[in-house]
């Protein structure tokens, strides 16, 4: 059992919890994820560890309440327990001493981007950060990102805050202004990462972090398979970070859609149960 030690709301529908998991906190490095199961009857879901405190034995998880399990997780309060939590999983991201990097975050992906922005900055890189959200009130971690970025750009789809448009508009502009970018890192919805890769010249290393469906997270089920450079790879053990220029994004988008209807069904049942309970 894993106790929730802290909880806060970052934006409507986006929450951060800190969970007591000392063994995992001790081993986690940027880019690792965990798998959790809230109760006996629940699904196992992967969540990237956004931050960790080895001394206090805490790991931070930031999530958007988009499905049955993330909504249920969002309803847990400080002092509540998560039944199962296992990790750290996946390959961590090696933060090499780059000179000039562009970091892009979309939606709650920005939460996962933040520790990397911080790490690049601390290793002496010049960091350009672009964070995009649907609307102004969903923009998260603005101050934190600003503290570790040479330039911070905020975009919203509806123009209610920052630049009215897509993160790729800014990326395009930066790529024209700077010919010496040595790394691009994009974390967010798959269509966003695909769009980033589409306008990135192949000679610039472009890392993306994939959010495939998975059950065990240890290489056992193969449900998270993605095609990278023409070969099948498992997101859980070979990833979650891959060279964006080699990822078959359309296949990934298709695979992510497979359980959409059962998920909707669960959410509807949940809604109904709530209404009945009043």
């Amino acid at each position: 059992m894993y106790r929730i030690a802290e909880k806060e709301s970052l934006a409507p529908g986006i929450k951060r919890i800190r969970v007591e998991a000392p063994l995992i906190a001790r081993k986690t490095r940027p880019g690792n994820f965990i798998i959790l199961r809230i109760d006996e009857t629940d699904e196992r879901i992967p969540l990237t560890v956004s931050d960790f405190d080895r001394d206090k034995g805490l790991i931070s998880l930031i999530f958007q309440e988009v499905g049955y399990t993330t909504r249920k997780l969002g309803q847990l309060e400080v002092g509540d327990y998560i039944r199962d939590l296992v990790g750290p999983l996946g390959k961590h991201l090696d933060i090499e001493p780059y000179k000039k990097v562009i970091c892009l975050g979309g939606g709650s992906g920005t939460a996962l981007l933040y520790p990397k922005v911080k790490a690049f900055w601390q290793k002496g890189a010049e960091v350009f950060t672009i964070t995009g959200a649907r609307t102004g009130e969903l923009v998260i971690l603005e101050d934190e990102l600003r503290g570790f970025s040479n330039e911070l750009y905020i975009t919203t789809d509806d123009g209610t805050y920052g630049y009215h448009g897509q993160v790729t508009d800014i990326l395009d502009k930066l790529l024209q202004e700077h010919s010496d970018i040595d790394l691009i890192l994009a974390i967010g919805p798959v269509p966003m990462m695909k769009a980033v890769v589409n306008i990135t010249p192949p000679e610039i290393k472009t890392i993306v972090s994939l959010n495939a469906l998975m059950v065990d997270g240890t290489g056992m089920c193969g449900g998270c398979r993605v095609t990278v450079n023409g070969e099948t790879r498992f997101t859980c053990v070979d990833g979650p970070a891959f060279d964006g220029h080699q990822v078959d994004f359309d296949e990934l988008i298709n695979r992510l859609s497979f359980y959409k209807d059962t998920e909707d069904h669960l959410c509807k049942l949940d809604q109904l149960a709530r209404e009945v309970e009043g």
Binding site: L23, I24, K27, R37, T41, D42, E43, R44, Y68, T69, R83, D84, L85, V86, G87, P88, L89, V215, D216, T218, G219, M220, C221, G222, G223, R225, V226, T227, T232, V237, E251, N254, R255, S257, F258, Y259, T262, E263, H265, L266, L269
Partner: protein, 465 residues
């Protein structure tokens, strides 16, 4: 009194009924049936059955006790060698082991050793749950701590044997539940999970500590286990990595590895969706690729989830199917279609979901090194099988999660851990057994390895004193 030539039959759920539920197919002997069957045993002094058993259960002795209606003694006899009788009685391939060499079997049907073992195992579980009794530890407690990695059949067996000798044993399990393949792989209708739970509880009563959700190699390393005071380690992590065919279209939606499909259904209980929240989608027409027990389990599971037409696609002929005869028979009774001498060459789909398996017909050629005829494809014989989903059950390889993070642990080219004849690995104090050293095999072979490793570990610890 003349000897009964045939085994006493065991009652089963009728095929038409059982394909609608996940309850156990084979129902087990009544005490009368068990005693009758026990009288068929010749009690021959050579007891070839014992040598046929990978863990050397004193078979004639326990059968004699059954014959005398002394079921408690029977369980004590079995438990001297086998800690998981209710499981072995169900899933062991007895027809290739103890029953294969049974003297009765020379002219008649062999004694139904598996059914008797199951009867005794179930009797014991029933008894202990009634009385909440516990086995008395006879050996003095020892100081040495042993870590067991993986709670599958190899790990559980090694843990039990070491605990019985008084050692301090901790099992580390990566998943949220114990049992390994007994939990996520073998379906409820063949091995009820309640039985696994009870057998694991029995092992806990021996003093074994079980820690779930810990991945050795990730959460804790082998080196850290030694630092934490464990003096010996047993690796029983199995063969958990699914093999794929690597043919076009394999990543279409609706194509599962057998591991994923069975894990969703067995471990995550997707068959109880939406009470349990993990979904599984299979549609009406399902193809299972492969001919082993995992393929049979997958096909029969698909049927129980509501599939109307389930086919097994296997590249050799029916004679070469590697699955147990009993499983093949059960699958046939339930209406599984065997499309043998066929091999998938591609999957085709519409809107991202698989709709067709492109197969090529095969014929049998010369025998290969394994003694099986090599399947050869027949030119221009491609045909299309319409499907809603496909389950790939062509085998598993060892999971590299532990080996890749344990620098000085020697492995074989195929990924298995290298061991000597005592199951010792290249790291002193670290032993390995089960599928991780043999490749995917059987529950009982893994248990045999667990027993052997326990003996080697005891010897190692005694020497180290």
């Amino acid at each position: 009194m003349s000897l009964q030539k045939q085994k006493n039959p065991m009652s089963v759920q009728e095929p038409r009924e059982r394909i609608k539920n996940f309850k156990e197919v084979a129902l087990g002997y009544t005490p009368e049936e068990a005693i009758n069957e026990a009288w068929r045993c010749l009690q021959c002094p050579t007891a070839p059955c014992v040598t046929g058993c990978p863990v050397e259960v004193p078979i004639p002795d326990f059968i004699k006790a059954v014959r005398e209606e002394n079921f408690e003694q029977a369980i004590d006899i079995i438990k001297t060698k086998n800690n998981l009788p209710a499981i072995c009685g169900r899933v062991c391939p007895q027809e290739e082991q103890c029953e294969k060499v049974c003297i009765m079997g020379k002219k008649n049907e062999p004694v139904a050793i598996g059914r008797l073992e199951r009867f005794v195992g179930d009797y014991a579980l029933q008894k202990t749950s009634d009385k909440n009794s516990t086995y008395n530890r006879t050996t003095a407690k020892k100081e040495a701590k042993v870590a067991i990695i993986g709670s599958g059949p190899a790990g559980l067996t090694a843990a039990a044997d070491l605990a019985k000798e008084g050692y301090q044993v901790t099992i580390f399990e990566a998943l949220h539940a114990t049992g390994g393949v007994l939990r996520y792989g073998i379906p409820e209708f063949r091995l009820p999970k309640g039985i696994v739970d009870q057998e694991v509880t029995e092992i806990k009563k021996l003093g074994v500590d079980i820690r779930l959700n810990v991945i050795i190699g990730k959460t804790i390393t082998i080196e850290e286990l030694f630092t934490a005071g464990y003096q010996a380690i047993f690796i029983g992590t199995g063969a958990g990595l699914p093999k794929f065919l690597n043919i076009p279209g394999e990543n279409l939606n609706g194509i599962y590895s057998a591991n994923e499909f069975l894990t969703r259904v067995n471990l995550m209980k997707a068959y109880k969706f939406p009470e349990y929240k993990t979904p599984v989608k299979i549609g009406k027409r399902v193809a299972v690729v492969g001919g082993g027990n995992v393929a049979m389990d997958s096909a029969r599971t698909a049927l129980r989830l509501g599939a109307e037409e389930v086919s097994i696609i296997y590249r050799r002929s029916k004679n070469e199917l590697p699955a147990r005869q009993e499983e093949i028979e059960h699958a046939e009774e339930e209406g599984i279609i065997f499309r043998t001498l066929n091999n998938p060459v591609a999957f085709h789909g519409e809107k991202g979901r698989v709709t067709k398996v492109e197969c090529i017909r095969m014929e049998l050629g010369e025998k290969d090194g394994s003694g099986r005829p090599v399947p050869v494809s027949v030119e221009d014989s491609n045909w299309f099988l319409p499907v809603d989903s496909v389950i790939i059950a062509i085998g598993q390889t060892p999971n590299p999660l532990l080996t890749s993070t344990t620098g000085n642990l020697k492995t074989e080219a195929w990924g298995g851990i290298t061991v000597d004849e005592n199951l010792a690995t290249s790291i002193p104090g670290v032993f390995a057994g089960g599928d991780i050293i043999t490749g995917a095999a059987t529950v009982i072979k893994a248990m045999g390895a667990g027993k052997k490793a326990a003996r080697s570990i005891i010897e190692y610890l005694e020497k180290a004193k």
